[in-house]
Symmetry: C2
Subunit: 164 residues, 2 copies
């Protein structure tokens, strides 16, 4: 268990992390915001999912996801079709164009990270990944299914610790 000074330092790092996020945001392709990039990555990883699930994965209100997805649908990156089993719902799926966009995105971010993190070992990068994943989980992360009363059953169980 950490002490108060350590927690203060941690929060300071959290604040400063915004600069990293902003720098990553600057290399995004035209028309693709940081939020769009996150949605593309999640759709690629989780396959066909509903709005509510996407909201849960991103830990934002569904209204936020709704607007985001609407925008990306107009851009042709997402196919938003009706769920035949429940006509209130929508099934989201990446279009080929969306996948192209994601590929371009991955290319650019990998290039930037390779430049900035060139002197990190892959073990160090892996440690940061695992610690951030655990941080998210500790904060009620929508990654591990807290399974409150989920009728749709405990969804995917992507092992976040897995090394590629």
């Amino acid at each position: 268990m950490a002490d108060k000074a350590q927690y203060e330092e941690l929060v300071r790092q959290f604040s400063a992390f915004g600069a990293v996020k902003r720098e990553l945001g600057r290399i995004l392709p035209e028309g693709c915001s940081s939020a769009s990039a996150a949605v593309l990555a999640l759709l690629s990883r989780h396959g066909d999912i509903r709005m509510g699930k996407l909201a849960e994965l991103t830990a934002v209100d569904m209204s936020v996801i709704s607007r985001q997805v609407a925008h990306m649908t107009v851009q042709g990156w997402i196919d938003r079709s009706e769920d035949p089993a429940d006509r209130r719902s929508r099934i989201l799926r990446l279009t080929p164009e969306g996948r192209d966009q994601l590929d371009e995105l991955s290319e650019r971010t990998a290039r930037l990270l390779a430049d900035r993190l060139g002197d990190w070992t892959d073990d160090e990068v892996g440690r940061l990944i695992r610690l951030m994943a655990r941080l998210r989980a500790s904060f009620g992360g929508a990654c591990e299914p807290a399974a409150p009363a989920a009728p749709s059953a405990p969804p995917d169980h992507h092992t976040d610790e897995g090394s590629p």
Copy 2:
């Protein structure tokens, strides 16, 4: 050196981290935004500094800091006085009220983190702190005084295992 898949996973963690930031933001005292909290902490740590220096420390445009500081000055948390040596500049300093606010802030965040991170060892918290500090440094971090002219030790991969 990490591979592309690992970088993608890292970026995914970066995106998901927003949820942690938002949850921390929800416990802030009334009238104290996340940005204000960061400025309070920096002023407390770095003493009397100028606008430009604060902009550098936060890695945002000076126009952003200018508005933020103006707001905090109205709230009575910052004393923004002229620099007698250069009348274009302003010297920023925490007021006693600002320090009170920072204390309240630290209290709340420490409480939340103690709750969420209760099962982390202080060594684990320390590792996360160090990795995030290094990440920031790798991204041209404006945290360490950045060695203006005489870098005693370039922002090397200091595996600073030392206690704060």
